[in-house]
């Protein structure tokens, strides 16, 4: 039995947490999210290289939220998700105990959000090499080639909104896509509507995205849809020097400004 199981069992036993959100064995050698509410379930939690999912998306789901306090097994992107949620007032300090597993495999138990910040202070987030490669490839293309690439991807989108469901930051009870007065985005799946949806999603994540890539993971038709918010997060880092989900007191890059911000494209 690993450290993670011991801590989970203790938290549940002492009543410090009603549920521990973590990872369990799935079928065919995969991992799946697991929710441990008792000793027995706590023993089944696992943590290894396969556990890349950002579990922060569960903390506000209506089935889980009432079970606060929660404990959550966390990788770096989960930590960032939690911090970002906290800075958007979706989690309060003390709502959640984070069990962060660091590079060395040690479990660091963070009861306060400030402890998560300390863990994150040691980390320089980087995007996955394969994502970087694809972004570079797209950047090297002509606009026409990029358009063709994305339009052919958009054609296959079925508007299932799995990307939204998987995102730790898509917590709105009413998404912009559901607004029908006016009907900003058409309900049916068609290329232009799909394009509008994905642009909207990326814009709404700009300055907020914690670059976990879960949206792309979740896409049933394998659109690399996570590249859009990640590309923006990288640009924002370059232009404004801000990285989302590292500190609670950060403000959103797009709801602040500096008078001398870049504007070389404005005539």
């Amino acid at each position: 039995m690993g450290a993670i199981n011991e801590i989970a069992a203790r938290l549940l036993e002492t009543g410090e947490a009603k549920v521990v959100i973590g990872y369990g064995e799935g079928s065919f050698g995969s991992v799946r999210p697991a929710f441990a509410r008792n000793q027995e379930e706590a023993e089944k939690l696992i943590y290894d290289k396969r556990c890349t999912q950002n579990l922060a998306m569960y903390v506000y789901k209506k089935e889980i939220s009432p079970l606060r306090k929660l404990a959550i097994v966390a990788n770096v992107s989960t930590l960032r998700g939690i911090i970002r949620l906290a800075s958007e007032n979706q989690i309060k300090n003390g709502d959640i105990i984070t069990l962060y597993i660091n590079e060395l495999g040690e479990v660091i138990e963070c009861k306060a959000l400030s402890e998560i910040e300390i863990c994150l202070a040691e980390i320089t987030p980087e995007i996955k090499p394969e994502d970087k490669e694809l972004i570079d490839k797209l950047d090297a293309m002509t606009p026409q080639e990029r358009w063709n690439f994305w339009i052919s991807e958009m054609e296959s989108c079925i508007k299932c909104y799995a990307c939204r469901q998987a995102c730790p930051l898509c917590y709105c009870t009413q998404c912009a896509v559901e607004v029908n007065q006016p009907q900003w985005i058409p309900v049916a799946a068609n290329t232009s509507g799909n394009l509008e949806w994905h642009i909207t999603r990326a814009m709404h994540l700009s300055g907020r995205c914690v670059e976990c890539g879960q949206c792309g993971e979740a896409c049933p038709v394998n659109i690399p849809i996570h590249l859009l918010p990640i590309k923006l997060a990288e640009e924002i880092k370059n232009i404004y020097g801000t990285v989302s989900g590292m500190k609670i007191q950060e403000s959103n890059t797009l709801s602040t400004f500096k008078p001398d911000d870049k504007e070389n494209f404005i005539g």
Partner: protein, 146 residues
């Protein structure tokens, strides 16, 4: 060769600077291309990026977004917020291969009647040269064809 394509261009402008500047263009009787039509907003900060997408999906060939110069915003900072929004939006559109040459961002003050005419004319002639936004039309027409 004569180019008889008449582009459709929508201008999203703030009430205090560019709208008033365009009024001054009128008062000064400076002529410009009738291709551009203005929609009035209180501030550039009010201009939702989704409206630009709606413009393209409804057949616009070009878009102008214009407001008060930095530091001159009637509401102090709406244009500053808008500016960051446009930086990100442009990056995204460019990354998706949407033709950002079709969007003109500019600051035109209430005193710059002549500049407004120039902005309109240069945008109109640029869009004329680029031609109709066929690529976008193609994906929007698909809705009706299917």
């Amino acid at each position: 060769m004569e180019n008889d394509f008449e582009p459709k261009i929508v201008a999203f402008v703030c009430n205090w600077c560019t709208y008033a500047g365009a009024d001054l263009t009128g008062t000064s009787r400076i002529k410009y291309s009738p291709n551009v039509k203005i929609i009035r907003f209180p501030c550039t900060g009010r201009i939702d990026f989704m409206l630009l997408l709606k413009a393209f999906s409804n057949g616009a060939d070009g878009v102008i977004v214009s407001g008060c110069h930095p530091n001159d915003c009637h509401y102090t900072s709406g244009n500053f917020h808008a500016r960051r929004r446009w930086v990100v939006f442009r990056t995204l559109l460019d990354f998706m291969g949407i033709d950002i040459n079709r969007i003109t961002f500019t600051w035109v003050s209430a005193a710059e009647g002549a500049k407004w005419a120039e902005v309109v004319n240069t945008t109109a002639s640029k869009i004329k040269e680029l031609g109709p936004y066929e690529a976008y039309r193609k994906i929007t027409n698909e809705i009706w064809e299917s």
